[in-house]
C-alpha cells in the first residue's frame, strides 16, 4: 500500500512501510472484539477475547502481598523515605537490588537447578523491547535469524521492523508434534546460504508460543550442537517459563549449557514478567546474555526502554520474598493446570483435540476436521465464522506461520471461570450445528 500523500513523503521508510503488521487480516479478530466486547451483563452476546495471552489468575495473591507490604511502594508513608533516591535513579544498569531479585527469581523458577548472575541482567521495555534489543546487538540489516514455525506473530514486527533483520522459518509439522528437527534446521540454513543471506542465529521460544509445549532436552541439545557447529547465536525466549502446569518439567537453556559443551558467547535468554507474574503493564523486559560484549552493548541500549525505577523498587521487594514467590508459583501453576483441564475436556466433549501441552496460557486447537478443504483459504473462512458467528476471538494458525492449515491458538487464562464456560458452550453449539449441517448435506446427497 503506497502512500501518495505528499506529507507522507516527509516520513522515513520505516514509518511508512507495512512492517508493523497491523494491516494484516489477523487484526480483524481484534477489531471485532474492540467493536463488540463481551460483558456478562452489559453485552452478553459480544465477542469473547481468546486471543490475548494474559495471566490474571493469581492477582489475588499479589493484591494481598501489596496490602501487607506498604513499604514496597514509594507512595505510602512507610515507603516514602525512598522516594527521592528512586525518583532520580536512571542508571541503565538498573537498581542492584532489582537485578539481584530477578536473578534469584529466575533461579527459583528453574527449581534452583541453575543460578543466574545479576551482572548479566540487561533491562528493556518489556519482552518486546528485549527481543528487539538482542537483535540489534547480534545482527546487522539484511542478516537473518532462523525461527521454528509456528511462532509468535509479533516476532515479525519486533525482530525485523527497525532492525532490518530477516526471519527464515524452520518448518515444524504436526506429524511429530511440531518438534524442531536437525533436518529442518539444516534445510533452513542451506536455503539462506543459497540466497546469500547471512544467518546470525536461531531464536526459539521455550515454552513455545503458540504450541504451549516445553522444548525437550534432546531438542535443545540438538540446537546447541547446531549453533556451535555453525558458530551462530541461540536466543531463547523463556517468557513462559513459570507457566508450566504439568510434566514434562521445564529445562532452561541455562541448564543445558551446564551439561553440553558450548561456546557460551553464543547463548542469550529473553525474559519478562508479563506472563509468569501477569504484569505486562509494568513493562519489565530482561535480556540475559552469557556474552560480555552483548551485555555491555545491550546495557547502553537499555536507555531506550528502561524499566521505571518505581517498578524496579517494588519488584525488588516482591521477588525477593521467597515465601511469597514459592506460594505464588505453586498456586499459579495449579490454577493454570485446572484451567487447561477444564478447557481441553470441554473441547473433548465435542471431539475437538488440542496438541498435548504442559505450559503457556493457551491451547493449540486442531480444527482440521472442520475445514472444507485443507487450505489456508478454508482456514480463513472457518476463522471468520468463529469470529463473527461463534463470537470468539481466536488466533488462526496462518498468522503464526504454521505450514498446515486448520490449527488455532485459543487463550484460556485471561478470563473468569464463567466466561470460559460460556466460550465452551458457544463452541459446543457451533460444533453441533456444523455436524447437523453435514448430516443434512450427507442426507441430501444420498437423496440424489
Amino acid at each position: 500500500m503506497e502512500f501518495e500523500n505528499p506529507s507522507c513523503q516527509l516520513l522515513s521508510k520505516i514509518a511508512t512501510n507495512e512492517q508493523h503488521g497491523e494491516n494484516s487480516p489477523y487484526f480483524d479478530g481484534w477489531k471485532a472484539y474492540d467493536n463488540d466486547p463481551y460483558h456478562p451483563t452489559q453485552n452478553p452476546n459480544g465477542v469473547i477475547q481468546m486471543g490475548l495471552a494474559e495471566n490474571p489468575l493469581s492477582f489475588d495473591l499479589v493484591e494481598e502481598w501489596i496490602r501487607k507490604h506498604p513499604s514496597a511502594s514509594i507512595c505510602t508513608s512507610e515507603g516514602l523515605q525512598k522516594f527521592r533516591d528512586i525518583a532520580i535513579f536512571q542508571d541503565y544498569h538498573g537498581l542492584t537490588e532489582f537485578r539481584n531479585a530477578v536473578a534469584r527469581f529466575l533461579g527459583k523458577v528453574r527449581g534452583g537447578r541453575v543460578t543466574f548472575d545479576p551482572a548479566r541482567i540487561v533491562l528493556a521495555g518489556g519482552a518486546t523491547g528485549a527481543s528487539e534489543l538482542i537483535t540489534f546487538c547480534l545482527a546487522d540489516p539484511g542478516d537473518a535469524f532462523l525461527v521454528p514455525t509456528p511462532y509468535y506473530p509479533a516476532f515479525d514486527r519486533d525482530l525485523k521492523w527497525r532492525t532490518g533483520v530477516q526471519l527464515i522459518p524452520v518448518i515444524c509439522e504436526s506429524s511429530n508434534n511440531f518438534k524442531i528437527t536437525k533436518e529442518a534446521l539444516e534445510e533452513a540454513f542451506e536455503n539462506a546460504k543459497k540466497s546469500s543471506i547471512k544467518v546470525k542465529g536461531v531464536i526459539i521460544a521455550n515454552p513455545s508460543n503458540p504450541l504451549g509445549t516445553t522444548v525437550e532436552r534432546e531438542t535443545q541439545i540438538t540446537l546447541v550442537n547446531f549453533i556451535n557447529e555453525k558458530q551462530i547465536h541461540l536466543v531463547c525466549d523463556e517468557i513462559y517459563s513459570a507457566t508450566i502446569f504439568s510434566r514434562p518439567n521445564f529445562s532452561s537453556i541455562a541448564e543445558i549449557i551446564e551439561e553440553v559443551e558450548c561456546n557460551r558467547d553464543l547463548i542469550h535468554i529473553i525474559y519478562s514478567l508479563s506472563k509468569d507474574m501477569g504484569f505486562p503493564g509494568f513493562r519489565v523486559g530482561i535480556v540475559y546474555s552469557y556474552n560480555d560484549a552483548v551485555v555491555n552493548c545491550g546495557r547502553k541500549m537499555s536507555s531506550f526502554g528502561l524499566v521505571s525505577s518505581q517498578t524496579q523498587h517494588f519488584l525488588a521487594s516482591m521477588l525477593s520474598d521467597d515465601e511469597f514467590i514459592d506460594h505464588f508459583l505453586k498456586t499459579s501453576s495449579m490454577r493454570l493446570a485446572k484451567r487447561h483441564q477444564t478447557f481441553t475436556s470441554g473441547l473433548e466433549e465435542v471431539e475437538i483435540k488440542c496438541l498435548n501441552s504442559n505450559a503457556g496460557l493457551f491451547c493449540w486447537m486442531d480444527l482440521r476436521p472442520l475445514l472444507k478443504e485443507p487450505t489456508f483459504e478454508a482456514e480463513m473462512v472457518l476463522w471468520r465464522l468463529i469470529i463473527h458467528n461463534v463470537k470468539l476471538n481466536v488466533s488462526p494458525g496462518f498468522s503464526f506461520h504454521c505450514v498446515e492449515p486448520g490449527w488455532f491458538r485459543v487463550c484460556f487464562a485471561n478470563m473468569d471461570d464463567e466466561t470460559l464456560e460460556i466460550a465452551l458452550k458457544r463452541i459446543r453449539i457451533f460444533i453441533q450445528a456444523t455436524e447437523k449441517k453435514s448430516d443434512v448435506t450427507a442426507k441430501k446427497r444420498k437423496q440424489w
Partner: protein, 358 residues
Amino acid sequence: MSISGIATYQPFDGLMELKVAIAGFMSQVMDKSVSFNPSQIVLTAGATPAIEILSFCLADPGNAFLVPSPYYPDLDRDVKWRTGVEIIPIPCRSADNFCLSTTALDRTFNQARKRGLKVRGIIISNPSNPVGNLFNRETLYSLLDFATEKNIHLISNEILAGSTHGSEDFVSLAEIIDSEDFDRTRVHIVYGLSKDLSLPGFRVGVIYTFNENVLAAAKKLARFSSISAPSQRLLISMLADTKFIHLFMKNNRERLERMYNAFVTGLKQLGIECMKSNGGFYCWMDMSGLIRSYNEKGELELWDKLLSVGKVNVTPGSSCHCIEPGWFRLCFTTLSENDIPVVMDRIRKVSEICKSRS
C-alpha cells in the same frame, strides 16, 4: 484501583488520562501561553526513546539532521546509533552568545547538500543544553520559514521549558505555530518529566506532533518503549493536583535561580566568566584562559586536572561538539548551597595550578 487495572496490557502509547494530565502540565509549565491537545501526544519511556523514535520516523539511514552546536552529548546516541542517521552540527560562537545564526544554518545546509547528504530536519533544544539559551520568537520564525522552504522537519526538545530563570521568557514552538499560519506537519516537540519535575527514574517522555502520519507511526513504535503502568497512575494523580504543581514549579524556579546566580558569582570571583543563560541546570563556563594549548587537547588536559586533582566532574565542550575550546558545562542542581564554597575552593586550586604553569 485493583491490580488488574494496572498490571494488565495498557495502550502502548500511554493512557489517555496521563496524556490529558501531561498536556495540562506542559501548558502550566509554559505559563499557559499555549494549550496542548492530548490526542497529539505519544508517551514514551523517557525523552531518549522519544528522540530515537522521531529519528526513525523522519529519516532513513544515511540521511542527516542539522543540530546547532554545542549540543548535549547523548543526542549523538539518541539520533544516530541504531538508526544510521547522521548529525551535522551548525557551529555557534561565543561572539553570538552561542545563539543560532541563520547564516550558519544556511551555510551548513548547503555544505551538506554539496556532500550529497539528504537533510531531513533540524533539531533544536530550547532551553539549550549545554549553554542554557532561550530561542527568541524571531529565530523560531526563521527556523520555521527555513524548514518550510527546504521541505524539512523541525524538532524542538523543550524538556527544560519549566527550568528557566532570569528575565527572558520561554517561547514554545507550539506557541509560534498557534499564532501564525505555518505548515504544522513538519513540527514536532519533545518533552519529558526528567528535568522540570525531577523524576528521571520513572521514565516519562513525550512526542508532541502536528503531523498525523508521524503520530500514527510513533504510536506503533512506542511499543518498544512504553511507560510502566504504576508510574503512569502515580503521575496522573500528581499532575492533576495543579495547586501542588504550581507551588512546585514556583519553588523550583526560585531555587534554580538562586543556585545559578550563586555559582556564576562565585566563578566570576575566580576570573571565570559564564555565558549568559536563562535555563537549564548548569553554567556554561569559559575556562579558555586556563588551558595550555587552545585546542581540544588543551581542553581535555584541563578537564582531567579538574577531575583528578580538583575532584570536580564537569563536561568538556568538545564532548558537546563546541568549536571553541575551553568551555565547560557545570551542573549545579545535585548540590546544596553549602557545597558552593567547597566547589569554588577546588576550582580555585586547579586554576592556580594552571596559572602558575604558564
